[in-house]
Symmetry: C2
Subunit: 174 residues, 2 copies
DNA sequence: TATTTCGTTTAGTAATTACTAAACATACAA
DNA sequence: TTGTATGTTTAGTAATTACTAAACGAAATA
């Protein structure tokens, strides 16, 4: 059981790739983040290519979405036209950033469609048993989404959702 | 803008399918849930087939995973060998159930792999700068996962994570 | 201007995942 | 026992998504 550091790092990258896939992200994204996370210095695109085995194209696009999610940061050095990437180490900040990203995009559009269903029902009001049933159910779902939404927004607003806050939450929940 | 109820229902099913896909579930799953959610009575497998347009095989497997997640409930009627399915309407209960489901499965295995990386590092202790750096980072990630994990476990333990609790959480977060 | 060095885009391929059609299994009924 | 009504499994197909290879573009340098 005397693994070299580089073997251990490889396993770690593998593990994060799995986790990435589990959350519905490409596994390459997990690998890129892992490589950056274990590097003491920011890495150029080509260095990431070398260490992950992906191609430049793939890394280019995936590192960009990672940056949009706030999981990595892009920087430049004076007199060097390469871009350098480093992992975000404050995961709570990253969560906030991801939530913010998701606020827009597909999810919001889908949630909005529930709201629209509700509006359509109200616009075609009928004194009918099934109609009422459907109306109540859709309304309940919409309220649920609203609750989730305000929770997400609250998290986004937090200056820093640190461990202390998590334990605070836990104590409220008893 | 005078939609029929059945058109409205169709749109709703479509919307939930989208949401389902967004969260990384097959869109058919969303459709099945939506159909059940809008039905005042529990539906048989064949009725679900009819209303979603999926095949029996697909509905059979997907309704099963929905049941495992606690989003639908299976029941039987005396003197009728069909199974009947109804949607869970307490979404907070459903969330708990889903979290519980995820506790096992792939996710836990992946998270465990981070713990293993940490153990491997400790087993091969070296007084080396890079080694220390990697060790600290992996440790930080592991602590983060632990925090998430205990949060999930706390939610699971809740009798009912109702709206009142959500607002309680919000107040703690200020 | 031509050349080099970088990042991006694109068009196609590989891999994965969702789904279908049909065979199968089980339990009940005749 | 045979036939019928159900749910499940399986083997294959369709659709989607991740990824590659290579062309492109832009910016800096010569």
């Amino acid at each position: 059981m005397s693994n070299t550091l580089s073997q251990i790092k490889k396993d770690f990258v593998e593990g994060l790739s799995q986790i990435s896939r589990f959350w519905g992200f490409p596994k390459g994204m997990g690998a890129i983040f892992a490589v950056l996370y274990l590097s003491p210095t920011a890495l150029s695109l080509d260095e990431i290519v070398e260490r992950t085995g992906l191609t430049k194209g793939a890394v280019s696009t995936e590192v960009r979405t990672l940056a949009r999610m706030g999981l990595v940061h892009r920087s430049t050095k004076l007199g060097d036209r390469k871009d350098y990437y480093a992992a975000e180490t404050d995961f709570y900040a990253a969560i906030r950033s991801i939530l913010q990203e998701r606020q827009n995009s597909e999810f919001d559009r889908a949630v909005r469609s529930v709201k629209e269903t509700l509006a359509a029902l109200e616009a075609n009001w009928v004194e009918d048993e099934e109609w009422h049933f459907v109306y109540e159910r859709v309304k309940a779902l919409q309220e649920f989404f609203d609750a989730i939404d305000s929770l997400a927004k609250a998290v986004i607003r937090l200056e820093s959702l640190g461990l202390s806050n998590v334990t605070k939450i836990l104590s409220v929940l008893k």
